[in-house]
């Protein structure tokens, strides 16, 4: 042991480097931390040199820790200790009576239980709730991290924000920003999301109580975050402290641990780090974007041709048309002359205040126009379309696809493929004869790719233009993967530690974004599949690296208009020009002068959904309410009740009444396959004399109640909800719960086999193993195999005999009734489908088959997408209301899951009917839908139908779904017009 000497601990984390020097009595002599901006090796050396200067050399013991320290420790051959371990060592030495440690770092979140069974946990691959997440969210709101903290303190309400990962949270926050939610509330909601993630995702049901210690950067510097923790953890049983040196515990642990190792001279240590300045590992790079400067020059010359004609606004007189594209992160505005030439354009980040920005720019435009230019019409598009149209009384509000098509057509009259990569979204449309033939939008996981590059550039202190410029010179772009920005972010950090240059990263990011769009969003069979005349646009394509990467990857030259970032607004303006009917726009300076606006939060109480609303009130008594799912919440008059199979099925299932009986109460969780099999079990159990108690309808509150027992954060949302339903039953005082395990389904003759997916099949077993509150002696999860009738009967009879002493004859009679009811239910759904189709044809309405699983009728799972569709004036069918029994499809995949077979069959049905289109609902994390969605898509596209997919999760962002559905609606309407 070498306890009589200096001990030095160095902690290289994902964002900062920390160093601590201890004397023999473990007093801290020196401590310092600095952000390393990924120059980890250099910064580590600098800090070491500072310590060296401080004590003037001599002998020390040393140990390194931290996630970024691993590789360096090996190369410099210095002792290393895993950071969680270092933390727990430091806590042993420096803190007394600690029960739980919560440590949030740059990329990792950890929780350590020290008493009552020691346990250390770290976040999984998908989990957010870390410093990097806070940085991202702050930049989304255009505030510094300190400001975010300040803002959070004066919040008045908290929104539900998906806490699982940064990308999802962003998808939840973005629409709130656009709808005008207050920054104060958002800041606090972001912190609350982190708290929820830590408690649910990390602690996973283990109660956090006793003396809690906060460690790490975010918890040290952000008192608002600590406050959220304090409010959420039960104050009766917890006492939280932020210890002195809360930032340095990993480094302290490393220093303590260094005493296990021999003394070395400080000079040797410095030399070791000097030698380790250049990493040994060689990165496997991608081919460069441009081989020679000439290549680049040619490339630039080619794309400069695609410019738009400009007219000087100061000399122009006559009519003009305004287009406003209120995007998710930026606002774009364009004023064009009668000949379509550009008079004025404007592009800025929303900074969370889209309405005031538009107002300001409108003033500017009116000033420039003075009396000589008459704004004849204006149109708005994008996420904020409805908000803007309501706020400023704009003449037209058009869906984005239309706007982009108008603009692209201006540059390339034969355009048959448009790809738009904006800050948050990626959209592609295929066109045939000027009609949108298919629309692809990214799902949550791919969102934010565009703005990720920008955020990253600004973290390096560069603007996006100069960052892009660097990438052009890259000799070996780094491969950063393409799953999502959270994964990309950590790939970038790894690459930086391995010595990648800014140029290589810039080019690598461009390639990643392109790969994401090609392989995840478009999933084209071949480059020719995209189209002959491709127009690419959106702010992200202004980055030459992205444009080049795209051309390289598809092996084709494409058109990128010079006004790439303004195309939505430009298209809107063109739309206004072509569709104008009046002499003067509604918009006027007078209107702006009296324009006042305020927004406040509210809650709709007209149905159990309790949508959180944002109510924007404008001068002149105009009001725009957003956040709701249906007309009710928006205060609109209800449109004529259109047939909605989702609503019908749910009502039907909830109509089974419980009847008190001799056997007493038994609970059934209303989850997963119960949405299909409830008629059977409910009828049968009631027949046997049980009073069946259903867990109820899902809600986000119910979800949060069960969240702490979810063992896998990547399982689908419908499965996660099961935990809440079980808790709900327990809370209702139900001590017996019936939840049978059904690996197979009934044979409907639609496929080669009739399985349930593994999650639906075995979830009852997972519940038994994870919900500790459950009394397993009265939690019934018998295995039933329904496809061989005789055995099914025998198994069920045996179960009820053994468990409840019910005679076989009785059970079988009840089962028969149950089966009859189940068949009747299925028949009734089909009848409804038939009647809905007849109704639609009579009333000349369009129909969408909303294809999902039985459990997608749960309003908490579908987020009311069915209602959104009826609000568009479209009739909603479900896959099981139209799939014909025994109509086995010849598909190119193994067709062996009953629920999925119905989808193929429904797709085929849609192809045979002009007035029916298909929308597939896919739960995030549904592995089987990776297979079904491709197959369904090809069934539809082989028959010239548009395939639309909506991916759903706990995120509540209906904005993207709305755009998708509206686009589909308009596209099919146009198609029918041209026919």
């Amino acid at each position: 042991m070498t306890a009589n000497k200096y001990a030095l601990g160095l902690d290289i984390g994902s964002t900062t480097v920390k160093v601590v020097l201890l004397d023999k009595d473990n007093n801290i002599l020196f401590s310092r931390y600095e952000r390393h901006h990924s120059n980890v090796r250099e910064k580590a050396l600098t800090l070491l040199k500072q310590v060296h200067e401080f004590i003037g050399g001599g002998n020390i013991t040393f140990c390194l820790s931290g996630s970024a320290g691993m590789g360096i420790a090996e190369e410099a051959s210095v002792p290393f200790i895993q950071e969680v371990f270092a933390t727990s060592g430091a806590c042993d030495a420096f803190l007394e009576d600690t029960d739980v440690i919560i440590e949030l770092g740059g990329e990792d979140a950890k929780i350590l239980f020290l008493t009552g069974g020691q346990e250390e946990r770290m976040n999984g691959s998908c989990a957010g709730g870390t410093g990097a997440f806070i940085d991202q969210m702050a930049s989304l709101l255009s505030v510094s991290v300190d400001q975010l903290d300040e803002l959070s303190k004066s919040h008045t309400q908290i929104y539900d924000i998906a806490s699982r990962c940064g990308v999802f949270a962003k998808s939840d926050i973005q629409p709130l920003v656009n709808q005008g939610a207050k920054k104060e509330d958002l800041a606090a909601s972001i912190y609350q999301a982190i708290v929820n993630q830590t408690i649910a995702g990390l602690a996973q049901g283990r109660e956090i109580k006793g003396n809690i210690v906060f460690l790490g950067g975010p918890l040290t510097f952000q008192s608002g975050l600590r406050e959220r923790f304090n409010k959420t953890l039960k104050p009766e049983v917890t006492n939280t402290i932020l210890p002195e040196n809360s930032l340095y515990f990993v480094a302290l642990g490393a220093a303590l641990n260094s005493r296990e190792f021999p003394l070395m001279s400080f000079d040797t240590l410095i030399r070791k780090f000097e030698r380790a300045q250049t990493p040994k590992t060689k990165l496997e790079g991608l081919p460069p974007l441009f081989n020679t400067p000439e290549d680049y020059a040619d490339f630039i010359a080619r794309h400069e041709k695609d410019d738009v004609h400009k007219t000087d606004i100061s000399t122009y007189t006559g009519d003009a048309y305004l287009g406003v594209d209120s995007g998710s992160t930026t606002t774009k505005m364009v004023l064009i002359a009668q000949d379509g030439s550009l008079l004025y354009s404007f592009y800025t980040s929303n900074k969370g205040e889209p309405v005031s920005i538009v107002k300001k720019v409108l003033y500017e435009i009116f000033a420039l126009c003075s009396d000589k230019i008459n704004i004849r019409a204006c149109a708005t598009t994008g996420y904020g379309e409805e908000l803007m149209q309501n706020a400023f009384n704009m003449d037209f509000g058009i869906v984005e696809t239309t706007a982009h098509y108008y603009a692209a057509r201006h540059f390339h009259s034969d355009v048959d493929f448009i790809l738009d990569i904006g800050g948050q979204d990626m959209k592609c449309f295929k066109l045939k004869n000027g009609v949108v033939e298919s629309i692809l939008l990214n799902e949550a996981c791919s969102s934010g790719c565009g703005s990720f590059i920008e955020t990253f550039a600004s973290a390096l202190g560069q603007d996006i233009a100069s960052f892009a410029k660097e990438g052009i010179a890259s000799k070996a772009p780094v491969d950063l993967g393409s799953r999502c920005t959270v994964f990309m972010n950590s790939s970038v950090k790894q690459a930086q530690k391995d010595g990648a240059t800014v140029a290589d990263i810039s080019a690598g990011l461009a390639v990643s974004v392109v790969k994401n769009v090609l392989y995840k969003v478009i999933r084209a069979k071949s480059p020719d599949d995209l189209g002959k005349h491709i127009v690419v646009q959106g702010g992200t394509f202004l980055n030459d690296c992205v444009l080049r990467a795209f051309e390289q990857e598809v092996g084709k030259e494409v058109v990128r208009p010079v006004i790439s970032g303004l195309m939505g607004a430009y298209g809107a303006a063109l739309y206004a020009l072509e569709n104008v009917t009046k002499e003067k726009s509604n918009l006027s300076v007078a209107l702006l002068d009296e324009f006042e606006y305020n927004s406040h939060a509210g809650m709709c109480k007209r149905c159990p959904n309790h949508c959180r609303l944002i109510i924007n009130e404008f001068s002149g008594g105009r009001k725009y309410i957003s956040g709701g799912r249906c007309e009710k919440s928006l205060g609109l008059p209800k449109t004529a009740e259109l047939p909605n199979a989702y609503e019908y099925k749910l009502k039907k299932l909830l109509s089974y009444k419980s009847v008190p009986g001799k056997m007493g109460k038994i609970g059934i969780p209303f989850v997963l396959n119960m949405y299909e099999n409830l008629p059977l079990w409910h009828t049968m159990l009631t027949e046997l004399g049980f009073e069946v108690v259903l867990s109820g309808v899902s809600s986000s509150k119910l979800y949060i109640n069960g969240q702490h027992t979810i063992p896998s954060d990547t399982v689908c949302y419908p499965a996660k909800l099961v935990h809440g339903h079980i808790e709900a039953l327990i809370d209702k005082g139900i001590d017996r719960i019936f939840y049978p395990i059904m690996p197979h389904n009934f044979n409907e003759g639609l496929g080669d086999n009739h399985y349930n997916c593994p999650v639906v099949a075995y979830y009852p077993e997972l519940i038994a193993a994870n919900v500790t509150k459950l009394d397993l002696s009265t939690y019934y999860m018998p295995y039933f195999v329904p496809y061989v009738q005789r055995n099914f009967q025998a198994n069920i009879a045996a179960f009820f005999k053994k468990t409840f002493g019910i005679k076989k004859r009785e059970t079988l009679a009840a089962l028969e009734k149950g089966m009859a009811e189940y068949e009747a239910y299925k028949k009734d759904v089909k009848r409804f489908g038939q009647e809905a189709i007849e109704y639609a044809r009579r009333e000349n309405k369009h129909m969408f088959v909303l294809c999902g699983r039985p459990y997608h009728i749960d309003p908490e799972v579908s987020h009311g997408i069915d209602k959104l569709i009826t609000s568009l004036g479209v009739v909603v069918l479900s896959e099981d209301s139209i799939s014909e029994v025994g109509n086995k499809m010849n598909v190119k995949v193994l067709n062996q899951w009953t629920y999925h077979s119905r989808i193929y069959s429904a797709a085929e049905f849609a192809t045979k009917n002009d007035d029916i289109d298909l929308v597939q609902l896919v739960s995030f994390g549904c592995g089987l839908d990776a297979i079904t969605s491709d197959e369904t898509k090809s069934i539809l596209e082989d028959n010239n139908k548009i395939y639309t997919q909506i991916k759903i999760d706990e995120i509540n962002n209906l904005g993207a779904a709305r755009i998708r559905l509206r686009s589909l609606f308009e596209a099919t309407a146009n198609k029918q017009k041209t026919r």
Partner: protein, 446 residues
Amino acid sequence: MAELIYDQTGRLLFTEEMRKEYTLLIPMMLPIHFELLTNIFRKHNFNVELLKTTGKSIVNEGLKNVHNDTCYPALLVIGQLIEALKSGKYDTNKVALLMSQTGGGCRASNYVHLLRKALKKNNMEHIPVVSMNVSSMEKNPGFKLTVGLSADLAVAVCYGDMLMSLSNQTRPYEIEKGETDELIAWYIKELCENGLSFAKYRKYIRQMVKDFSAIPAYRTPKVKVGIVGEIYIKYAPLGNNSLENFLQSEDVEVIVPGLLDFIMFMSDHHAADTRLFEINKKKGYLSSITESLLKRLQRMQIRAVKGSVFTPQCEFEHKKSLINGYVSEANKMGEGWLLTAEMLELIDSGVDNIICTQPFGCLPNHIVGKGMIRKIRTAHENANIVAIDYDPGATQVNQENRIRLMLAIAKKRLDKSMPNGPQDYKIPKKVSQEADNNENMGVLIQ
């Protein structure tokens, strides 16, 4: 050139003629086993080639050709095959692809179909895909799992398991670095040339135990870590970023459950259906016969190892008995109950440190892997289990950091068990060979 013949569903068949003219490409999973399996196919007159390619380009090819939300193993296997086809090394008119198909409710049953879709995408639909399965899906005139072939394959799997297990128990302790790997290489060659049949099985496995015991080793206690999980990810270095190598570089003894258990698990499906639900009786009877043969192979292995310095594999039935109270033996999609059983068996045999590997979003693992960890931890407070997701986008740093945390805990416990360092440790007295012989040998011979 062989004629392209399709069945009534339009599936391209692998014909008898193709068997003579074509080369069958096999994607890599387990380096030792697959080398041996390849040679069994050769022995049965197939032209086969095992793909040993590695590198990022396989992942990229996979991303291009497979839906990105499909499991990582599908992405890698299909990526590896497509990359090979595009490499120009093979005459694409004289090549076919061999892929195993598990059947059952896991989406892995669909890999074969996804591969065909990928071929179509690349205009290579004329290349036949041969599904190797025991569920009588997709029959091919030129590829039949005959009794003889199946038996030989089973023997090769057992050899593979033996070599894997013995070498894992030797390599960390060998005095002369590299000796263990040399011995493996020697055995692969030797077995391929002389030993690939049941007749020589007993002789070779006994010799293996002797030869591996003979490698000079210093058996100080080391941290032992078991790897369980989805079958491809747990075995294939391509899938798990060479996890075994990483652990070995951390001075750890790695324990990987054998492939034979998985095959027994598969063949038990129908028998289990019969036992539990009285269905599939005919298939159940057949599968119970297969199973009893496989059990015999396993018992022979266990007996060969018993009494040596090595720990034998655990008997299948014992493994299965451990899941009581966790999952049912009717839970059989993917790795099903076997995965839970493997974790429990490791803990049961004193290996508390476990890495549970799975592809990102693996469906069965939500239940039988991650879903059971909490319960296992409650029942065994020493259980030190970490679940790691593998995916094209997951960074190695984050994976390794979590593994290191598990290792740090393991190391601390090991140190605690030896307060004075390794000198505390005494080599346990060797169980006498005779005692073992007396107990078991009589049964074994004939």
